[in-house]
Amino acid sequence: MKLLSRAEEIILLSVVKLEENAYGISIRELIRKTTGVEWSLAQIYDPLNKLTHKGYLIKYKGRSTPERGGRHKYLYKITEEGKEALLDIRKVYENIWEKVPKNALI
């Protein structure tokens, strides 16, 4: 089983959370809010492209807005495979965190 990378996981989850409005800028904004880290646009596109290429995301054309210089938005949506991959990685996390003795990390 090939696991998602941390960046891919974050992006994928952001897409899921953003539901109908997942595109470059909104994803970046969400990541800033949740992790407190400012990602460059290219840093977002690289995993986005990879995920699309792997088939975990699909890209579709959205509306155009004036602040985009009249250009169309490209929105992202998670696929069944993408969901599966997220569930897989969650299972792995649960396995890893399981049976960690209480107070061990305090």
């Binding site: 800028i25 646009l41 890209k59 602040e67 250009r71 938005k73 490209y74």
Partner: protein, 853 residues
């Protein structure tokens, strides 16, 4: 608010450049939206800064992506190339063989060149070593030589602080008998200053360097010689007797001198020894140019000003001298003074000619088969490949081919190494030749081949228009056809130049070897006059003459292949003051002319018996010509109180290799001067073994201490031309290879043309054309192009060979037969190559070729 703010133009342009076309809209939009968002919260210039930083941050990732994608394309290109090789095996083998042969030739020649260039470079101090050369003035003529007078070296060291050390060699090596117990052999001895072991890199593996300075009777042996006389024992401290007369103590053993050294010897004795044998002051005089002097100089040595300094010094102290010594870099001696740079250049040029021929092959075969790749190119372009990409693909393919060829070539070189060793007479070894610069050289050659061979096919194939190609129209072959023909012509021109070159060199060498030397060198053998024979040669001569197999016997001072005694300042009545020739001296007894079968042109020879006066001399025609007297017989020649009388003129004979002109010669016969070194014996053609047995018997009787050794003079003459013949052998071999490569290409091309014209041939056959007519039709075109190649090559070859020949004073004339012969030969070779394919095409059944129409 006024107009909405736009992101910085330049940054946007940059972004457009690094993004792929299909993602342009999305990414540009996102970037701009981000920019507008920033604008709302921050000031304009901050937002611009933000935009810029975002764009710049995107660059590394896009570069990474670019590599990723080009790599996957590369994988695809290689896959296609390998499939292509597999599918067209015959074509691929032809192509790779041609290239591999060309590269193998090139690598072998590079090995040879590297070895030549490495000559003398093994000396650690090579860059600070100089040799003393001199310019000699003989009347109007000047001569440059490597000789220097004995006293020059020590004076140089004593007077000039910039000279650290000097060492002198006695010119020439003498062959002497070595005795150690029962082991007796003749060996060559080099007399030289012990300093040679300090300034040159001749490392001692046994003995101490101080001991070499301990007196005149010490000796250093090479490793192999020490092995010969002492086996595994330690030679140091032991005695070797030379010529049964002088004892030498072995004080050291040196490593064998490597083959790429201009200074070679197996046994060394000090120069001082000459003082005890020849004359007390032999190594101290300011005359006699019998030495070679080497100097080691200190740092910051300025050659030009130093040479001026010594010239002025010489002019001040000895204004009458005709000799101007100067220092010359030792590292340049082999290349410049020995003139090897010429051969090195010629060979390098040949190597690259062969490589070009091989590249042309590749170009021809690749473009000829372009129709088979046209669909692929069309499809690639339709799917979105740009021309650059297709070009890259075919470039990559040609580089792949070159590297496969390189591996094949290296295997070939490895296999051919033993032959190459015999061919060149150099102890070259594959692994020892592979070093840093060589690997660099090989890769440079490979890359160059890949680029030269690939550039045209890549540009040609990538130019196809997809629409035309995919419709099945094929490509308009006209342009490619013409270019291919030009390439074939070029290729054959190069081959023709090589063939003509080989033929001219071959004829010249044959001419030199067979040229009438002015005497009969067959059935003439000689033995050295040494040991007891020095006293008893007259009796031995008498006894030999009784033997039925022997015609004549003569005693001489030198062998005709090695006369090195000469002098000048001869005066005669009516001499022009600016004429002062360098005259070679040759001493012989009165039987000389009959033994050598030379002829007298004028006057008479020495009289047999004792009534000869020592002042009677013979001169050769050349000398007579220089003296330019009406009455040459009876003319007097004088030099420093010595007066000689010319009694006859001998017809010119060659006493130097034929790449030098015959010079003035003085033949003397002086019964008082018993310095004969050689006994020449003319055998009756017939029973030579019997005569040899008689000579051996006599030699054992009169000179029991020395082993019997003899040599035939014609072998000595052959040896003079050995290096010339060797080079001829190399040139010939590579010419044959070049022709072979050209033929491979022609073969491939012919098969391709025949294939293309299958239908035409089928129709012609159906209409009643005979097989011979079809063969003629297919092959006449190539004959035409090969003939054109000849015509182009002739003037070039004529010019080059004319220049080459002009170095020989005795040379063949460039006759038309060579050129026409070459034309005939090349057409013949081309025809044989083409006819094979033509036959196959002509015999094919028209039903097969026409069925699908």
């Amino acid at each position: 608010m006024s107009e909405p703010k736009r992101p910085p133009r330049l940054a946007e342009q940059l972004l457009r450049m690094i993004l792929l076309k299909e993602e342009l809209c999305e990414k540009l939009g996102d970037f701009e939206e981000g920019f507008q968002y920033e604008l709302k919260t921050k000031r304009a210039h901050k937002a611009c800064l933000w935009y810029w930083s975002q764009v710049l941050k995107a660059i590394p990732l896009s570069v990474k992506n670019l590599f990723y994608w080009s790599f996957s394309m590369l994988k695809n290109y290689f896959k296609i190339a390998f499939r292509h090789i597999k599918r067209h095996k015959a074509y691929s083998i032809l192509n790779i063989t041609g290239l591999a042969l060309g590269m193998a030739c090139c690598i072998l020649i590079l090995f040879w060149v590297q070895d030549e260039l490495s000559t003398d470079k093994f000396h650690e101090k090579i860059d600070s070593l100089y040799v003393v050369r001199n310019i000699q003035h003989y009347g109007n003529e000047t001569k440059e030589g490597m000789g220097s007078v004995p006293a020059f070296g020590p004076a140089l060291k004593a007077e000039y602080p910039e000279i650290i050390n000097t060492a002198r060699f006695n010119n020439g090596q003498g062959e002497f008998l070595f005795t150690r117990g029962k082991t007796k052999f003749k060996e060559l001895i080099q007399m030289a200053d012990p300093e040679i072991f300090q300034i040159f890199t001749f490392p001692l593996i046994q003995g101490r360097i101080e001991d070499l300075f301990s007196g005149p009777n010490v000796m250093v042996l090479s490793e192999s010689l020490a092995d010969k006389y002492f086996g595994r024992g330690n030679p140091v401290g032991n005695i070797i007797t030379v010529n049964e007369e002088y004892d030498f103590k072995v004080v050291g053993v040196m490593k064998d001198i490597p083959h790429n050294s201009t200074i070679r010897f197996n046994a060394w004795i000090p120069l001082e020894f000459a003082n005890t044998v020849f004359r007390q002051d032999y190594t101290k005089t300011w005359y006699n140019l019998a030495f070679r002097t080497y100097a080691e100089v200190g740092p910051n040595f300025d050659l030009e000003s130093f040479n001026k300094k010594i010239l002025n010094r010489i002019r001040d102290s000895r204004p009458e001298t005709n000799s101007e010594p100067f220092l010359y870099p030792f590292s340049q001696v082999y290349l410049q003074v020995w003139g090897r740079i010429v051969q090195i250049r010629i060979f390098t040029i040949i190597a690259f000619l062969i490589l070009i021929i091989a590249c042309i092959n590749f170009m021809n075969l690749t473009t000829a088969r372009s129709s088979q790749r046209s669909k692929e190119v069309g499809l690639r372009k339709v799917v979105g490949a740009r021309r650059v990409q297709v070009t890259k693909q075919f470039f990559g393919e040609s580089i792949l081919f070159t590297f496969i060829s390189l591996i094949t070539a290296l295997i070939l070189v490895r296999i051919l190494m033993p032959f190459f060793r015999t061919l060149t007479g150099k102890p070259l070894h594959f692994l020892s030749l592979i070093n840093g610069p060589m690997i660099g050289g090989i890769f440079a050659v490979t890359a160059l081949t890949g680029i030269i061979a690939g550039i045209y096919p890549a540009l040609f194939l990538s130019s196809f228009r997809p629409a035309a190609v995919l419709k099945g129209k094929g490509i308009s072959g006209k342009k490619g056809d013409l270019f291919r023909k030009i390439l074939v012509v070029l290729q054959f021109s190069l081959s023709v130049i090589l063939i003509i070159g080989t033929l001219v060199v071959f004829n010249q060498v044959k001419y030199i070897k067979n040229k009438d030397l002015g005497f009969d060198k067959e059935h003439l053998l000689y033995i050295r006059v040494e040991g007891n024979l020095r006293k008893s040669y007259a009796s031995m001569k008498y006894e030999l003459l009784q033997s039925p197999g022997i015609n004549n016997v003569s005693l001489t001072t030198h062998s005709p292949t090695g006369i090195y005694n000469n002098g000048q300042d001869w005066d005669w009545e009516g001499r022009e003051p600016n004429i002062n020739p360098l005259v070679t001296y040759f001493g012989a007894d009165p039987d000389f002319l009959e033994t050598f079968q030379m002829e007298i042109a004028e006057g008479e020879s020495f009289r047999k018996g004792t009534e000869n006066s020592g002042s009677n001399v013979l001169i050769n025609e050349r000398f007579a010509e220089i003296m330019n007297l009406d009455n040459i017989i009876g003319a007097r020649l004088s030099q420093e109180g010595l007066t000689l009388q010319v009694i006859g003129v001998v017809k010119d004979f060659h006493f130097t290799p034929l790449n030098r002109e015959i010079g003035p010669l003085l033949l003397y016969h002086n019964p008082q001067m018993r310095e004969y070194n050689y006994m020449f014996i003319r055998l009756k053609p017939g029973d030579i073994p019997e005569a040899l047995a008689a000579i051996e018997k006599a030699a054992k009787k009169f000179n029991p201490g020395f082993p019997f050794e003899y040599r035939f003079l014609d072998q000595d003459y052959d040896r003079l031309y050995r290096s010339l013949e060797r080079e001829m052998g190399i040139v010939r071999t590579f010419t044959i290879l070049a022709i072979l490569i050209s033929c491979l290409g022609l073969f491939g091309l012919a098969s391709f043309t025949a294939e293309q014209r299958t239908k035409e041939i089928g129709i012609r056959k159906v209409l009643g054309a005979s097989i011979s007519k079809i063969i003629f039709m297919l092959s006449k075109e190539y004959a035409k192009w090969v003939l054109i190649a000849n015509v182009i090559a002739w003037p070039v070859a004529y010019y080059l060979m004319h220049r080459w020949l002009s170095d020989f004073p005795y040379r063949i004339t460039l006759s038309w037969t060579i050129f026409f012969g070459t034309a005939l030969l090349s057409v013949l070779i081309a025809q044989i190559t083409v006819t094979f394919q033509a036959l196959k095409a002509a015999h094919s059944d028209p039903i097969d070729s026409l069925r699908y129409e």
